[in-house]
Protein backbone atom coordinates (compact mmCIF):
# COMPACT_ATOMS: atom_id res chain seq x y z
CA UNK A 1 0.00 0.00 0.00
CA UNK A 2 1.22 3.46 -0.78
CA UNK A 3 1.45 6.14 1.85
CA UNK A 4 -1.09 8.54 0.43
CA UNK A 5 -4.81 8.02 0.83
CA UNK A 6 -6.89 7.60 -2.30
CA UNK A 7 -9.83 9.40 -0.82
CA UNK A 8 -10.00 11.88 2.04
CA UNK A 9 -13.47 12.39 3.46
CA UNK A 10 -13.86 15.27 5.92
CA UNK A 11 -16.90 16.15 8.03
CA UNK A 12 -19.53 15.06 5.56
CA UNK A 13 -23.04 15.90 6.72
CA UNK A 14 -26.26 15.66 4.81
CA UNK A 15 -29.53 17.05 6.07
CA UNK A 16 -32.89 16.40 4.54
CA UNK A 17 -34.55 19.52 5.86
CA UNK A 18 -34.27 19.21 9.62
CA UNK A 19 -33.77 15.45 9.44
CA UNK A 20 -30.27 14.02 9.53
CA UNK A 21 -29.06 11.87 6.64
CA UNK A 22 -25.56 11.47 7.95
CA UNK A 23 -23.54 13.62 10.30
CA UNK A 24 -19.86 14.60 10.55
CA UNK A 25 -18.34 11.58 8.86
CA UNK A 26 -14.60 11.65 8.27
CA UNK A 27 -12.26 8.92 7.10
CA UNK A 28 -9.43 8.19 4.70
CA UNK A 29 -9.52 5.38 2.19
CA UNK A 30 -6.20 3.88 1.13
CA UNK A 31 -5.33 2.38 -2.24
CA UNK A 32 -6.26 -1.30 -2.38
CA UNK A 33 -8.40 -1.06 0.71
CA UNK A 34 -11.97 -2.26 1.06
CA UNK A 35 -14.11 -0.36 3.51
CA UNK A 36 -17.50 -1.63 4.60
CA UNK A 37 -20.21 0.66 5.91
CA UNK A 38 -22.70 -1.33 7.98
CA UNK A 39 -25.76 -0.48 9.97
CA UNK A 40 -29.49 -1.03 10.05
CA UNK A 41 -31.66 0.39 7.34
CA UNK A 42 -32.28 4.10 7.77
CA UNK A 43 -28.92 4.58 9.47
CA UNK A 44 -27.55 6.78 6.67
CA UNK A 45 -25.28 4.28 4.89
CA UNK A 46 -26.60 4.90 1.42
CA UNK A 47 -26.84 8.66 1.96
CA UNK A 48 -23.18 8.65 2.93
CA UNK A 49 -22.22 6.55 -0.08
CA UNK A 50 -24.14 8.83 -2.43
CA UNK A 51 -22.49 11.90 -0.92
CA UNK A 52 -18.99 10.48 -1.31
CA UNK A 53 -19.65 9.34 -4.86
CA UNK A 54 -21.02 12.82 -5.76
CA UNK A 55 -24.43 11.41 -6.63
CA UNK A 56 -25.78 13.63 -3.84
CA UNK A 57 -24.54 17.03 -2.80
CA UNK A 58 -23.69 16.95 0.92
CA UNK A 59 -24.78 19.85 3.11
CA UNK A 60 -21.28 20.32 4.54
CA UNK A 61 -17.88 18.71 4.30
CA UNK A 62 -15.40 17.85 1.60
CA UNK A 63 -14.20 14.83 -0.33
CA UNK A 64 -10.75 14.89 -1.87
CA UNK A 65 -9.68 12.32 -4.43
CA UNK A 66 -6.15 11.40 -5.39
CA UNK A 67 -6.18 11.72 -9.16
CA UNK A 68 -3.98 9.70 -11.48
CA UNK A 69 -1.75 12.73 -11.95
CA UNK A 70 -0.86 12.53 -8.22
CA UNK A 71 -2.79 15.64 -7.21
CA UNK A 72 -5.71 15.87 -4.83
CA UNK A 73 -8.91 17.34 -6.19
CA UNK A 74 -11.91 18.40 -4.15
CA UNK A 75 -14.76 16.57 -5.86
CA UNK A 76 -17.37 19.23 -5.33
CA UNK A 77 -15.12 21.92 -6.80
CA UNK A 78 -14.63 20.00 -10.03
CA UNK A 79 -16.91 20.93 -12.87
CA UNK A 80 -19.61 18.54 -13.91
CA UNK A 81 -17.82 17.36 -17.03
CA UNK A 82 -14.71 16.39 -15.05
CA UNK A 83 -16.80 14.70 -12.39
CA UNK A 84 -18.80 12.67 -14.85
CA UNK A 85 -15.64 11.70 -16.69
CA UNK A 86 -14.12 10.55 -13.41
CA UNK A 87 -17.24 8.55 -12.60
CA UNK A 88 -17.20 6.63 -15.82
CA UNK A 89 -13.47 5.99 -16.06
CA UNK A 90 -11.72 5.90 -12.70
CA UNK A 91 -14.75 4.91 -10.63
CA UNK A 92 -17.42 2.30 -10.68
CA UNK A 93 -20.82 2.22 -9.01
CA UNK A 94 -22.57 -1.08 -8.42
CA UNK A 95 -26.24 -0.62 -7.60
CA UNK A 96 -28.27 -2.92 -5.43
CA UNK A 97 -30.77 -3.37 -8.22
CA UNK A 98 -28.90 -4.27 -11.43
CA UNK A 99 -31.64 -2.64 -13.52
CA UNK A 100 -30.49 0.74 -12.15
CA UNK A 101 -26.94 0.21 -13.33
CA UNK A 102 -27.50 -1.63 -16.59
CA UNK A 103 -29.15 -0.68 -19.84
CA UNK A 104 -31.79 -3.35 -19.91
CA UNK A 105 -32.67 -2.89 -23.57
CA UNK A 106 -29.24 -3.39 -25.09
CA UNK A 107 -27.17 -6.56 -25.20
CA UNK A 108 -24.70 -7.66 -22.55
CA UNK A 109 -21.83 -6.90 -24.92
CA UNK A 110 -23.00 -3.33 -25.45
CA UNK A 111 -23.47 -2.92 -21.71
CA UNK A 112 -19.86 -3.85 -21.09
CA UNK A 113 -18.66 -1.88 -24.10
CA UNK A 114 -20.52 1.35 -23.32
CA UNK A 115 -17.80 2.81 -21.12
CA UNK A 116 -15.17 1.94 -23.71
CA UNK A 117 -17.14 3.72 -26.42
CA UNK A 118 -17.71 6.65 -24.07
CA UNK A 119 -13.97 7.19 -23.73
CA UNK A 120 -13.46 7.07 -27.46
CA UNK A 121 -12.92 3.44 -28.41
CA UNK A 122 -14.11 3.12 -32.01
CA UNK A 123 -13.06 -0.38 -33.04
CA UNK A 124 -15.97 -2.83 -32.94
CA UNK A 125 -13.77 -5.93 -32.93
CA UNK A 126 -11.67 -4.71 -30.00
CA UNK A 127 -14.70 -3.63 -28.00
CA UNK A 128 -16.30 -7.00 -28.52
CA UNK A 129 -13.13 -8.90 -27.62
CA UNK A 130 -12.85 -6.89 -24.40
CA UNK A 131 -16.50 -7.58 -23.63
CA UNK A 132 -15.99 -11.33 -24.14
CA UNK A 133 -12.96 -11.23 -21.88
CA UNK A 134 -14.87 -9.45 -19.13
CA UNK A 135 -17.91 -11.68 -19.38
CA UNK A 136 -15.61 -14.65 -18.84
CA UNK A 137 -13.95 -12.99 -15.88
CA UNK A 138 -17.33 -12.61 -14.21
CA UNK A 139 -18.27 -16.18 -15.15
CA UNK A 140 -20.86 -15.42 -17.80
CA UNK A 141 -20.68 -17.64 -20.89
CA UNK A 142 -19.34 -15.79 -23.92
CA UNK A 143 -22.25 -17.02 -26.02
CA UNK A 144 -24.62 -14.89 -23.92
CA UNK A 145 -22.91 -11.73 -25.21
CA UNK A 146 -25.77 -10.76 -27.53
CA UNK A 147 -28.52 -11.45 -25.02
CA UNK A 148 -30.22 -8.62 -23.23
CA UNK A 149 -29.80 -8.45 -19.45
CA UNK A 150 -33.52 -9.02 -19.05
CA UNK A 151 -32.88 -12.60 -20.13
CA UNK A 152 -30.34 -13.00 -17.31
CA UNK A 153 -30.89 -14.27 -13.78
CA UNK A 154 -30.45 -11.88 -10.86
CA UNK A 155 -26.96 -13.15 -10.08
CA UNK A 156 -25.86 -12.90 -13.69
CA UNK A 157 -27.20 -9.36 -13.94
CA UNK A 158 -25.26 -8.37 -10.87
CA UNK A 159 -22.08 -9.90 -12.32
CA UNK A 160 -22.72 -8.16 -15.62
CA UNK A 161 -23.08 -4.90 -13.77
CA UNK A 162 -19.73 -5.48 -12.11
CA UNK A 163 -18.09 -6.27 -15.46
CA UNK A 164 -19.58 -3.11 -16.98
CA UNK A 165 -18.06 -1.06 -14.18
CA UNK A 166 -14.62 -2.66 -14.17
CA UNK A 167 -13.97 -2.60 -17.90
CA UNK A 168 -12.23 0.78 -17.82
CA UNK A 169 -9.90 -0.34 -15.03
CA UNK A 170 -11.26 1.93 -12.29
CA UNK A 171 -9.34 2.43 -9.05
CA UNK A 172 -12.33 2.95 -6.80
CA UNK A 173 -15.63 1.09 -6.80
CA UNK A 174 -18.71 1.96 -4.78
CA UNK A 175 -21.10 -0.86 -4.04
CA UNK A 176 -24.54 -0.40 -2.58
CA UNK A 177 -25.76 -3.70 -1.13
CA UNK A 178 -24.23 -5.70 -4.01
CA UNK A 179 -25.66 -8.98 -2.72
CA UNK A 180 -29.10 -7.71 -1.75
CA UNK A 181 -31.92 -9.71 -3.26
CA UNK A 182 -29.77 -12.71 -4.21
CA UNK A 183 -30.17 -16.15 -2.70
CA UNK A 184 -27.46 -17.41 -0.40
CA UNK A 185 -25.55 -19.66 -2.79
CA UNK A 186 -25.51 -16.98 -5.50
CA UNK A 187 -24.40 -14.48 -2.87
CA UNK A 188 -21.49 -16.72 -1.93
CA UNK A 189 -20.41 -17.07 -5.54
CA UNK A 190 -20.66 -13.31 -6.12
CA UNK A 191 -18.70 -12.52 -2.98
CA UNK A 192 -16.02 -14.97 -4.02
CA UNK A 193 -15.85 -13.31 -7.43
CA UNK A 194 -15.71 -9.78 -6.04
CA UNK A 195 -13.02 -10.75 -3.57
CA UNK A 196 -10.95 -12.25 -6.36
CA UNK A 197 -11.36 -9.22 -8.62
CA UNK A 198 -10.56 -6.77 -5.85
CA UNK A 199 -7.38 -8.68 -5.06
CA UNK A 200 -6.31 -9.13 -8.68
CA UNK A 201 -6.93 -5.57 -9.73
CA UNK A 202 -5.83 -3.88 -6.51
CA UNK A 203 -9.13 -2.05 -6.34
CA UNK A 204 -10.25 0.16 -3.54
CA UNK A 205 -13.88 -0.25 -2.67
CA UNK A 206 -16.51 1.19 -0.39
CA UNK A 207 -19.25 -1.33 0.24
CA UNK A 208 -22.52 -0.51 1.90
CA UNK A 209 -24.21 -3.51 3.42
CA UNK A 210 -26.46 -4.54 6.26
CA UNK A 211 -25.04 -8.04 6.05
CA UNK A 212 -22.13 -8.47 8.44
CA UNK A 213 -21.04 -11.64 6.66
CA UNK A 214 -20.43 -9.61 3.49
CA UNK A 215 -18.37 -7.15 5.47
CA UNK A 216 -16.41 -9.95 7.11
CA UNK A 217 -15.57 -11.61 3.79
CA UNK A 218 -14.73 -8.57 1.70
CA UNK A 219 -13.60 -5.69 3.82
CA UNK A 220 -10.43 -4.75 5.61
CA UNK A 221 -12.00 -2.04 7.68
CA UNK A 222 -15.53 -1.22 8.64
CA UNK A 223 -17.62 1.63 9.94
CA UNK A 224 -20.79 1.05 11.93
CA UNK A 225 -23.49 3.68 11.47
CA UNK A 226 -26.52 4.46 13.56
CA UNK A 227 -28.94 7.37 13.15
CA UNK A 228 -26.59 9.12 10.76
CA UNK A 229 -23.49 8.93 12.97
CA UNK A 230 -20.51 6.65 12.66
CA UNK A 231 -20.46 5.04 16.11
CA UNK A 232 -17.62 2.60 15.63
CA UNK A 233 -14.76 2.37 13.20
CA UNK A 234 -11.93 -0.12 12.98
CA UNK A 235 -10.43 -3.21 11.39
CA UNK A 236 -13.19 -5.59 10.38
CA UNK A 237 -11.99 -8.46 12.52
CA UNK A 238 -11.54 -6.25 15.53
CA UNK A 239 -15.01 -4.73 15.22
CA UNK A 240 -16.72 -8.05 14.69
CA UNK A 241 -14.76 -10.01 17.29
CA UNK A 242 -14.52 -7.32 19.93
CA UNK A 243 -17.29 -4.78 19.41
CA UNK A 244 -17.04 -1.87 21.82
CA UNK A 245 -20.27 0.03 21.35
CA UNK A 246 -23.41 -1.47 22.81
CA UNK A 247 -25.18 -1.11 19.47
CA UNK A 248 -22.40 -2.94 17.63
CA UNK A 249 -22.48 -5.68 20.22
CA UNK A 250 -26.19 -6.00 19.63
CA UNK A 251 -25.67 -6.06 15.88
CA UNK A 252 -22.97 -8.71 16.05
CA UNK A 253 -24.88 -10.87 18.49
CA UNK A 254 -27.98 -10.74 16.34
CA UNK A 255 -26.36 -12.67 13.50
CA UNK A 256 -28.26 -15.89 13.04
CA UNK A 257 -26.18 -18.93 13.82
CA UNK A 258 -27.27 -21.96 11.89
Amino acid sequence: MSDTPLLKVKDISKFYGSRIGCRDVSFDLWPGEVLAIVGESGSGKTTLLNCISTRLLPTTGSVEYHMRDETYRELFRMNEAERRFLMRTDWGFVHQNPADGLRMTVSAGANVGERLMAIGNRHYGNIRATAVDWLERVEIDADRIDDQPRAFSGGMRQRLQIARNLVTGPRLVFMDEPTGGLDVSVQARLLDLVRGLVNDLGLSAIIVTHDLAVARLLSHRMMVMKDGYVIEHGLTDRVLDDPREPYTQLLVSSILQV
Partner: protein, 303 residues
Amino acid sequence: MTDLATYNFAYLDEQTKRMIRRAILKAIAIPGYQVPFASREMPMPYGWGTGGVQLTAAIIGPDDVLKVIDQGADDTTNAVSIRAFFQKVANVAVTTRTEEATIIQTRHRIPETKLGPNQVLVYQVPIPEPLRYLEPRETETRKMHALEEYGLMHVKLYEDIARNGRIATTYAYPVKVAGRYVMDPSPTPKFDNPKMHLSDALQLFGAGREKRIYAVPPYTDVVSLDFEDHPFEVQRFDKPCALCGAEQVYLDEVILDDKGGRMFVCSDTDFCEDRRAHGHVGPMLAPNGLAPNGLAPNQEAAE
Protein backbone atom coordinates in the same frame (compact mmCIF):
# COMPACT_ATOMS: atom_id res chain seq x y z
CA MET B 1 -51.38 41.94 -52.97
CA THR B 2 -54.99 42.78 -52.09
CA ASP B 3 -55.82 39.11 -51.96
CA LEU B 4 -53.45 38.78 -49.07
CA ALA B 5 -55.28 41.27 -46.87
CA THR B 6 -56.37 38.67 -44.36
CA TYR B 7 -52.86 37.29 -43.87
CA ASN B 8 -49.57 38.87 -43.05
CA PHE B 9 -46.98 38.05 -45.71
CA ALA B 10 -46.06 34.36 -45.34
CA TYR B 11 -48.76 33.74 -42.74
CA LEU B 12 -46.71 34.38 -39.58
CA ASP B 13 -46.79 37.78 -37.91
CA GLU B 14 -43.58 39.79 -37.92
CA GLN B 15 -42.78 39.26 -34.23
CA THR B 16 -42.99 35.51 -34.68
CA LYS B 17 -40.74 35.64 -37.72
CA ARG B 18 -38.29 37.73 -35.74
CA MET B 19 -38.27 35.15 -32.95
CA ILE B 20 -37.70 32.33 -35.43
CA ARG B 21 -34.96 34.26 -37.23
CA ARG B 22 -33.17 34.80 -33.94
CA ALA B 23 -33.34 31.05 -33.30
CA ILE B 24 -32.03 30.41 -36.82
CA LEU B 25 -29.10 32.77 -36.30
CA LYS B 26 -28.23 31.05 -33.06
CA ALA B 27 -28.52 27.65 -34.72
CA ILE B 28 -26.18 28.74 -37.50
CA ALA B 29 -23.72 30.09 -34.97
CA ILE B 30 -23.62 26.73 -33.15
CA PRO B 31 -23.81 24.12 -35.92
CA GLY B 32 -25.84 21.07 -34.91
CA TYR B 33 -27.06 22.52 -31.62
CA GLN B 34 -30.81 22.27 -31.07
CA VAL B 35 -32.16 25.74 -30.33
CA PRO B 36 -35.53 25.80 -28.57
CA PHE B 37 -38.09 28.13 -30.09
CA ALA B 38 -41.70 29.02 -29.45
CA SER B 39 -43.26 26.89 -32.15
CA ARG B 40 -46.65 28.18 -33.32
CA GLU B 41 -49.84 26.44 -34.23
CA MET B 42 -49.89 26.14 -37.99
CA PRO B 43 -52.91 25.45 -40.18
CA MET B 44 -51.85 21.84 -40.64
CA PRO B 45 -51.34 18.95 -38.24
CA TYR B 46 -48.11 18.12 -36.46
CA GLY B 47 -46.16 15.65 -38.49
CA TRP B 48 -46.99 17.44 -41.73
CA GLY B 49 -43.98 19.67 -41.53
CA THR B 50 -45.02 22.48 -39.21
CA GLY B 51 -41.38 23.05 -38.20
CA GLY B 52 -40.21 23.30 -41.78
CA VAL B 53 -43.13 25.54 -42.72
CA GLN B 54 -42.32 27.96 -39.91
CA LEU B 55 -38.68 28.12 -41.00
CA THR B 56 -39.65 28.73 -44.59
CA ALA B 57 -42.18 31.38 -43.57
CA ALA B 58 -39.53 33.16 -41.51
CA ILE B 59 -36.91 33.31 -44.27
CA ILE B 60 -38.98 33.61 -47.45
CA GLY B 61 -39.16 36.91 -49.31
CA PRO B 62 -41.24 38.05 -52.31
CA ASP B 63 -38.36 37.34 -54.71
CA ASP B 64 -37.76 33.78 -53.55
CA VAL B 65 -38.56 30.75 -55.65
CA LEU B 66 -39.87 27.87 -53.59
CA LYS B 67 -39.65 24.15 -54.23
CA VAL B 68 -41.24 21.61 -51.88
CA ILE B 69 -40.50 17.92 -51.95
CA ASP B 70 -41.77 14.97 -50.00
CA GLN B 71 -39.64 11.81 -50.21
CA GLY B 72 -37.99 13.44 -53.21
CA ALA B 73 -41.25 13.93 -55.10
CA ASP B 74 -42.83 17.27 -55.98
CA ASP B 75 -46.29 15.83 -56.57
CA THR B 76 -47.16 14.10 -53.30
CA THR B 77 -49.83 15.38 -50.92
CA ASN B 78 -47.52 16.96 -48.39
CA ALA B 79 -45.47 18.76 -51.01
CA VAL B 80 -48.48 19.94 -52.97
CA SER B 81 -50.26 21.28 -49.87
CA ILE B 82 -47.26 23.17 -48.55
CA ARG B 83 -46.49 24.62 -51.98
CA ALA B 84 -50.12 25.76 -52.34
CA PHE B 85 -49.98 27.20 -48.84
CA PHE B 86 -47.06 29.48 -49.66
CA GLN B 87 -48.52 30.45 -53.01
CA LYS B 88 -51.61 31.58 -51.15
CA VAL B 89 -50.07 33.34 -48.16
CA ALA B 90 -46.89 34.73 -49.74
CA ASN B 91 -47.70 34.79 -53.42
CA VAL B 92 -44.18 33.60 -54.24
CA ALA B 93 -43.03 31.87 -57.37
CA VAL B 94 -42.86 28.10 -57.06
CA THR B 95 -40.98 25.59 -59.11
CA THR B 96 -40.26 21.91 -59.26
CA ARG B 97 -36.82 22.46 -60.75
CA THR B 98 -34.06 22.16 -58.19
CA GLU B 99 -31.68 24.57 -59.94
CA GLU B 100 -34.25 27.37 -60.07
CA ALA B 101 -35.29 27.22 -56.44
CA THR B 102 -33.83 29.52 -53.80
CA ILE B 103 -35.58 27.75 -50.93
CA ILE B 104 -36.22 24.02 -50.99
CA GLN B 105 -38.36 22.62 -48.24
CA THR B 106 -37.90 18.89 -47.94
CA ARG B 107 -39.27 15.93 -46.15
CA HIS B 108 -36.90 12.94 -45.97
CA ARG B 109 -34.66 13.59 -49.01
CA ILE B 110 -31.89 15.82 -50.29
CA PRO B 111 -32.17 16.51 -54.04
CA GLU B 112 -29.77 14.59 -56.26
CA THR B 113 -28.72 17.78 -58.04
CA LYS B 114 -25.89 19.45 -56.17
CA LEU B 115 -27.12 22.53 -54.35
CA GLY B 116 -25.46 25.91 -54.77
CA PRO B 117 -24.46 28.71 -52.41
CA ASN B 118 -27.59 30.75 -53.15
CA GLN B 119 -29.91 28.01 -52.00
CA VAL B 120 -31.38 27.09 -48.61
CA LEU B 121 -32.53 23.60 -47.78
CA VAL B 122 -35.24 23.45 -45.10
CA TYR B 123 -35.85 20.06 -43.48
CA GLN B 124 -39.01 18.94 -41.77
CA VAL B 125 -37.93 17.07 -38.65
CA PRO B 126 -40.16 14.78 -36.59
CA ILE B 127 -37.71 13.95 -33.77
CA PRO B 128 -34.67 16.22 -33.46
CA GLU B 129 -33.00 14.36 -30.59
CA PRO B 130 -30.65 11.62 -31.86
CA LEU B 131 -30.31 10.14 -28.37
CA ARG B 132 -34.05 9.97 -27.70
CA TYR B 133 -34.59 6.23 -27.96
CA LEU B 134 -31.45 5.45 -25.98
CA GLU B 135 -31.99 7.96 -23.21
CA PRO B 136 -35.59 9.07 -22.77
CA ARG B 137 -34.85 11.87 -20.27
CA GLU B 138 -34.55 15.22 -22.05
CA THR B 139 -32.67 16.71 -19.09
CA GLU B 140 -30.10 13.95 -19.44
CA THR B 141 -29.73 14.15 -23.23
CA ARG B 142 -29.20 17.91 -23.03
CA LYS B 143 -26.49 17.34 -20.46
CA MET B 144 -24.92 14.71 -22.70
CA HIS B 145 -24.85 17.17 -25.61
CA ALA B 146 -23.41 19.87 -23.37
CA LEU B 147 -20.65 17.62 -22.07
CA GLU B 148 -20.09 15.91 -25.42
CA GLU B 149 -20.86 12.48 -23.98
CA TYR B 150 -21.73 10.60 -27.12
CA GLY B 151 -20.65 7.07 -26.20
CA LEU B 152 -24.30 6.05 -26.18
CA MET B 153 -24.67 6.80 -29.88
CA HIS B 154 -22.07 4.16 -30.61
CA VAL B 155 -23.88 1.72 -28.33
CA LYS B 156 -26.73 1.88 -30.81
CA LEU B 157 -24.41 1.19 -33.72
CA TYR B 158 -22.75 -1.61 -31.72
CA GLU B 159 -26.15 -3.21 -31.20
CA ASP B 160 -26.80 -2.97 -34.91
CA ILE B 161 -23.64 -4.85 -35.76
CA ALA B 162 -24.12 -7.39 -32.97
CA ARG B 163 -27.61 -8.22 -34.25
CA ASN B 164 -27.23 -7.83 -37.99
CA GLY B 165 -23.54 -8.15 -38.69
CA ARG B 166 -23.44 -4.65 -40.06
CA ILE B 167 -24.73 -1.18 -39.23
CA ALA B 168 -28.38 -1.64 -40.15
CA THR B 169 -29.49 1.93 -39.49
CA THR B 170 -30.56 3.18 -42.91
CA TYR B 171 -32.25 6.49 -42.17
CA ALA B 172 -31.88 9.18 -39.49
CA TYR B 173 -28.28 8.06 -39.38
CA PRO B 174 -26.46 10.11 -36.71
CA VAL B 175 -23.83 12.60 -37.82
CA LYS B 176 -21.30 14.75 -36.01
CA VAL B 177 -21.41 18.37 -37.12
CA ALA B 178 -18.28 20.54 -37.16
CA GLY B 179 -16.58 18.05 -34.84
CA ARG B 180 -18.83 18.88 -31.93
CA TYR B 181 -22.57 18.18 -31.81
CA VAL B 182 -24.14 14.87 -32.76
CA MET B 183 -27.19 15.59 -34.86
CA ASP B 184 -30.12 13.66 -36.29
CA PRO B 185 -30.29 14.57 -40.00
CA SER B 186 -34.08 13.97 -39.89
CA PRO B 187 -35.29 10.72 -41.45
CA THR B 188 -33.35 11.17 -44.68
CA PRO B 189 -31.85 7.93 -45.97
CA LYS B 190 -28.20 7.60 -45.01
CA PHE B 191 -27.58 7.70 -48.76
CA ASP B 192 -27.98 11.48 -48.45
CA ASN B 193 -25.60 11.94 -45.50
CA PRO B 194 -22.51 12.58 -47.67
CA LYS B 195 -24.38 15.40 -49.45
CA MET B 196 -24.58 17.31 -46.17
CA HIS B 197 -20.81 17.37 -45.81
CA LEU B 198 -19.25 20.68 -46.92
CA SER B 199 -22.46 21.57 -48.72
CA ASP B 200 -22.57 24.91 -50.56
CA ALA B 201 -26.14 25.46 -49.38
CA LEU B 202 -27.36 26.49 -45.96
CA GLN B 203 -29.29 23.67 -44.27
CA LEU B 204 -31.98 24.46 -41.71
CA PHE B 205 -33.89 21.92 -39.63
CA GLY B 206 -37.23 22.63 -37.99
CA ALA B 207 -39.16 20.40 -35.58
CA GLY B 208 -42.55 21.98 -34.91
CA ARG B 209 -43.96 19.63 -32.34
CA GLU B 210 -40.64 19.32 -30.51
CA LYS B 211 -40.02 23.09 -30.77
CA ARG B 212 -36.42 22.85 -31.91
CA ILE B 213 -34.44 24.50 -34.71
CA TYR B 214 -30.95 23.47 -35.74
CA ALA B 215 -28.73 24.22 -38.68
CA VAL B 216 -25.71 23.25 -40.70
CA PRO B 217 -24.05 26.35 -42.19
CA PRO B 218 -22.48 26.07 -45.64
CA TYR B 219 -19.07 24.39 -45.86
CA THR B 220 -19.38 22.62 -42.53
CA ASP B 221 -17.99 19.18 -41.75
CA VAL B 222 -20.76 16.61 -41.37
CA VAL B 223 -19.35 13.20 -40.53
CA SER B 224 -21.45 10.06 -40.18
CA LEU B 225 -20.60 8.09 -37.04
CA ASP B 226 -19.11 4.64 -37.52
CA PHE B 227 -16.57 2.12 -36.26
CA GLU B 228 -13.04 1.80 -37.58
CA ASP B 229 -13.69 -1.78 -38.65
CA HIS B 230 -17.27 -1.09 -39.79
CA PRO B 231 -16.99 2.16 -41.74
CA PHE B 232 -19.99 4.19 -42.85
CA GLU B 233 -21.45 3.08 -46.17
CA VAL B 234 -24.41 4.29 -48.20
CA GLN B 235 -27.03 2.05 -49.74
CA ARG B 236 -26.30 0.55 -53.13
CA PHE B 237 -28.79 -0.42 -55.78
CA ASP B 238 -28.31 -3.32 -58.18
CA LYS B 239 -30.17 -1.74 -61.05
CA PRO B 240 -30.34 1.75 -62.50
CA CYS B 241 -33.56 3.78 -62.46
CA ALA B 242 -36.19 2.01 -64.59
CA LEU B 243 -37.29 5.25 -66.23
CA CYS B 244 -34.15 7.34 -66.71
CA GLY B 245 -31.35 4.82 -66.26
CA ALA B 246 -29.61 6.87 -63.58
CA GLU B 247 -27.08 5.12 -61.37
CA GLN B 248 -25.64 6.30 -58.06
CA VAL B 249 -28.97 7.82 -57.09
CA TYR B 250 -31.52 6.89 -54.46
CA LEU B 251 -34.28 4.68 -55.84
CA ASP B 252 -37.82 3.98 -54.65
CA GLU B 253 -39.39 0.58 -55.07
CA VAL B 254 -42.76 0.69 -56.82
CA ILE B 255 -45.00 -2.38 -56.75
CA LEU B 256 -46.60 -2.90 -60.17
CA ASP B 257 -49.00 -5.80 -59.69
CA ASP B 258 -49.85 -8.55 -57.23
CA LYS B 259 -47.56 -11.07 -58.91
CA GLY B 260 -44.28 -9.73 -57.59
CA GLY B 261 -43.76 -7.21 -60.36
CA ARG B 262 -41.81 -4.17 -59.22
CA MET B 263 -39.71 -1.36 -60.53
CA PHE B 264 -37.08 0.89 -59.06
CA VAL B 265 -37.29 4.56 -59.96
CA CYS B 266 -35.53 7.73 -58.87
CA SER B 267 -37.01 9.04 -55.65
CA ASP B 268 -36.10 12.56 -56.86
CA THR B 269 -38.80 13.14 -59.49
CA ASP B 270 -37.34 16.39 -60.79
CA PHE B 271 -33.96 14.78 -61.36
CA CYS B 272 -35.59 11.85 -63.18
CA GLU B 273 -37.73 14.06 -65.41
CA ASP B 274 -34.78 16.27 -66.20
CA ARG B 275 -32.72 13.29 -67.28
CA ARG B 276 -35.51 11.94 -69.44
CA ALA B 277 -35.93 15.37 -71.00
CA HIS B 278 -32.28 15.18 -71.92
CA GLY B 279 -32.85 11.86 -73.64
CA HIS B 280 -31.78 9.36 -71.02
CA VAL B 281 -33.92 6.25 -71.05
CA GLY B 282 -34.10 3.48 -68.49
CA PRO B 283 -34.72 -0.21 -69.14
CA MET B 284 -38.51 0.00 -68.69
CA LEU B 285 -38.97 2.70 -71.28
CA ALA B 286 -36.40 1.54 -73.76
CA PRO B 287 -38.21 -1.50 -75.26
CA ASN B 288 -41.26 0.63 -76.08
CA GLY B 289 -39.41 2.29 -78.88
CA LEU B 290 -39.84 5.93 -78.07
CA ALA B 291 -38.96 7.59 -74.81
CA PRO B 292 -40.88 10.68 -73.65
CA ASN B 293 -40.12 13.75 -75.70
CA GLY B 294 -39.84 11.55 -78.75
CA LEU B 295 -36.20 10.62 -78.39
CA ALA B 296 -35.40 7.12 -79.54
CA PRO B 297 -33.41 5.06 -77.03
CA ASN B 298 -30.38 4.84 -79.27
CA GLN B 299 -30.18 8.61 -79.41
CA GLU B 300 -29.01 8.76 -75.84
CA ALA B 301 -25.89 6.77 -76.55
CA ALA B 302 -23.94 9.95 -75.98
CA GLU B 303 -23.97 9.26 -72.27
